[in-house]
């Protein structure tokens, strides 16, 4: 995936300014920066979730496997099937655990019960939730704990086999133990998927990501290999942020 000279306005307010960044396949890319710097906005642009926002205007290019995501002929539904998303707050549907996971496959045309059962198991296993819920798939997803709910959301995304998974501060509403589980999961997922993660937590970015982008006031200040960014950043602003002197 590639982002080139990307600009975005909410009404008159410009939220993204000339953003450039690559997203490497089967790697974890982290986006860090203070609140309101546009990292979530950038992430939401990657599978066009910002289409849902009124009076949002974009300019520039964002490509996925060489194709422009914002091309007029692009199929948004198909795009979102290939680029999935995990949200800040766990948002399971008020249905049973099983129905949460079969929702996506059913929408995309799978109706055979045996196939669906297999997907349910596979996705939950991948999301490291299977052992905890395999005996109560018929129960409401809302009966799960916050961390379990978030893993369920990840399983739900995995059920449609996306190529890229976008994570928007997936652990900000969770406790440390649940956070650790999600982080392990992200690292695990990297084998089969490309992950882009937005996080407030710099240690998290340092721990799990291969590449890191630091954003500030809508601009991509610095982008590079995570180790380099954290050990010897080339921009002073980046250094001040990661050493905790502002932000």
């Amino acid at each position: 995936m590639e982002v080139e000279d990307f600009n975005l306005w909410y009404g008159d307010k410009q939220a993204l300014i000339d953003v450039n960044m690559p997203v490497a396949k089967n790697k974890i890319t982290a986006l860090i920066g203070p609140s309101g710097c546009g990292k979530s906005t950038l992430l939401r642009c990657m599978n066009r979730m910002n289409d849902l926002v009124d009076n949002c205007k974009i300019e520039g290019k964002m490509t996925f496997r060489g194709e422009d995501i914002y091309d007029k002929t692009a199929d948004v539904m198909a795009l979102r099937k290939r680029i999935g998303m995990i949200f800040q707050k766990p948002n399971p549907f008020p249905m049973s655990i099983r129905d949460n996971i079969t929702y996506g496959p059913k929408i995309h045309g799978i109706s055979k019960q045996s196939e669906l059962d297999e997907i349910v198991e596979q996705s939950l296993v991948q999301a490291a939730l299977w052992d905890e819920v395999k005996d109560r798939l018929g129960e409401s997803a809302l009966s799960l704990s916050g961390g379990q709910q978030q893993r369920l959301c990840i399983a739900r995304t995995l059920s449609i086999h996306p190529e890229v998974i976008l994570m928007d501060e997936p652990t900000s509403a969770l406790d440390p133990i649940a956070t650790a589980k999600i982080e392990d999961l992200a690292v695990e997922l990297q084998k089969d998927y490309t992950v882009v993660i937005v996080t407030h937590n710099m240690q998290q970015a340092a721990r799990i990501s291969d590449y890191t982008g630091f954003m500030y006031l809508g601009k991509m200040v610095e982008f590079g290999v995570t180790e380099t960014i954290f050990s010897s950043p080339s921009e002073e602003l980046t250094e001040r942020y990661i050493t905790g002197r502002f932000g």
Partner: protein, 716 residues
Amino acid sequence: MTDGRDSIKKVKKFHHDAVMKYVLLAIASVTVLIIFFIILFILINGVEALGDIGIVKFLTGTSWKPGEGSYGALPLILGSVLVTFGAIMFALPLGLGSAIFISEIAPKRLRSILKPICEVFAGIPSVVYGFFGLIVLVPLLRNIFPDHLLFGTSWLAGSIILGIMALPTIISVSEDAMRAVPMSYREASMAMGATRWETTRKIVVPAAISGIAAATILGIGRAIGETMAVMMVTGNSPIIPEPLWNFFEMLRTITATLALEMPDVVSGSTHYAALFLLALVLMIMVLAINFTAKLIIKRSRRKFGETMSSGSSLNRITNTAKRRPVSFHILMLISVFFITLAIASALLDLFAGFICASFALTVFALVSTVIRRSGSRPTAYMISKRMPKILRSAVLTALFVFAWMVASLFADTSTSVLAAFIVLIVAIVFIPVAKRMGARIREKVAHTSLWLVIVMVVAILIALLYDIVSKGLPALSIDFLFGYPEEGGLSGGIFPAIAGTIQLVFGTMMIAFPLGITSGIYLAEYAKNTRSTKIIREAIDILNGTPSVVFGLFGMAAFVIYLGTGYALIAGCITLAVMVLPVIIRTTEEAVLAVPRELREASLALGASKWETTMKVVIPAAFGGVVTGLILSLGRAAGETAPIMFTAAVVFRSSVSLSLLDPIMALPYHLYFLATEVPGSETMQYGTALVLLIMVLFMFALASVVRYRYSKNIKW
């Protein structure tokens, strides 16, 4: 006290606080007494009839002929049920479609136009709807079905008008329910590549289903208590349609019976008591309906509270996935009842039909409860897996029966069965075709039909407004507004009616405002959450749901007859005041409760007493909300007909009297009188309707301006 400072024990302020508390309590108690008095009054008078007539005879007798001493209320009860049922068949698809459109599809700007339009719908007085039905819809239906409708007034006309009247309730309540579905659900669904329509159908609507059910039930409650509109268009003959689903027949509702027979009844006679018993039956029906709606709303609130907060505390709450089928279950029960009733009453007779239907209902309910309660997950799961198939065959069966019913009104038995089969086959062929369409195409089809629905709904309203405005405007003149009626209403003006309506509104205001506002403040600020407070709230709710014609009945019996005032302004004012009291109390209470606690605490922390805090901080902050409620209640009072038509309003007055004991003319009643009793007075009718509409809508506009200004100034 030794250091010269006031001791914290000094009681001066506590003192006047306590006094004010009791003053408020006293006024609030008056309100409560009034409420209990009305309920008791109707109860006692109605129960008297039981001895004379007998409950079984009353509920199952099929002939309502007070002149001959037969009081079988079944045709009337059925009349109310059938006309309401028809109204919902008409209003539910349109209302739900509009709600989905407004909540999920409409661009922001369009939504901000559609919502006020919906409010205008709700503000139009029922007599104006009835007038429109009588003068536009009835002739129209007569032209469309010349072989079936001799007069045009019919069950069908009543259901259509009632359906239009129930639309705003259904739209606004279900739209609220859908907007309350967290955005994150939609995002999660869209993020997986679902189309908008799939998201709406599979996520938003199921999540909002209890709200939608409540909206429908509230709509039913409003429709079943409606008087003027149904009375004007249903033909009012107390017969049971033959066959039961023949919507071309005339029928008569409970409300219409009360309005038609109350003025001529001899006080204390069996007939008089029978009417009260009818009112009691009506109240019980409305109460049961509103109670169901309240239960459902309460449950759905809890559900959303739980979905929006995340965390493990959710474990104890019964899971929604298992609970959802309940509303569906109720729907199944209702359809089982009606389908059996229809089939059995067609084959045998009506009474046998009822018995069969009740039997089928019981059996079905028992079986399904046993299945649901069987508890073991595998069973429940197996059933829920098969649910789509069961549901589909149920829908198809219902479709078949319904098609046959409609067809049988137009053709003989064999032809209509054939027609129903054709419909069934088309449906069976259509389902797989629809399934095979792409998601995108299905979305297109769905959205296009929703656009059509909203266009249709708006067109109905515009047609109504345009008709009245375009034909009413030529009638308006100085002579019309300030002259007296001449030639029995055929010409002249409507000055006494305008004056009378203003007098009524003013009088209502003088009585209802002090009582209502004080009671509202008392309930919000002072009342402890004890059992007696709960009873007060229940009583207010009961009164709030009571159909307006029942208030009229009470006003007539208590003032006109018992106190001997005759038709008098004061009787009308008190009746209307009692009717709007619950609205005022409720809106005042809500506005006061909406004031944040921090404000109160800040005031109390500065050493103000509770009374001072209430007067100087809370009430000014709640002012906008209170005033809005007051104006809305007056708008409603101005447009009501049923409560004044046998307490205060007469057909003609040659002068405007300011005496409280004189009868008056009033716009809504004048319109009713002209439309039903004075043929050839169309111009005068349209003029009156327009003036009434302008008055009422002006008050609603004023209320929304007040609300808007205050919501802009105060933000918390």
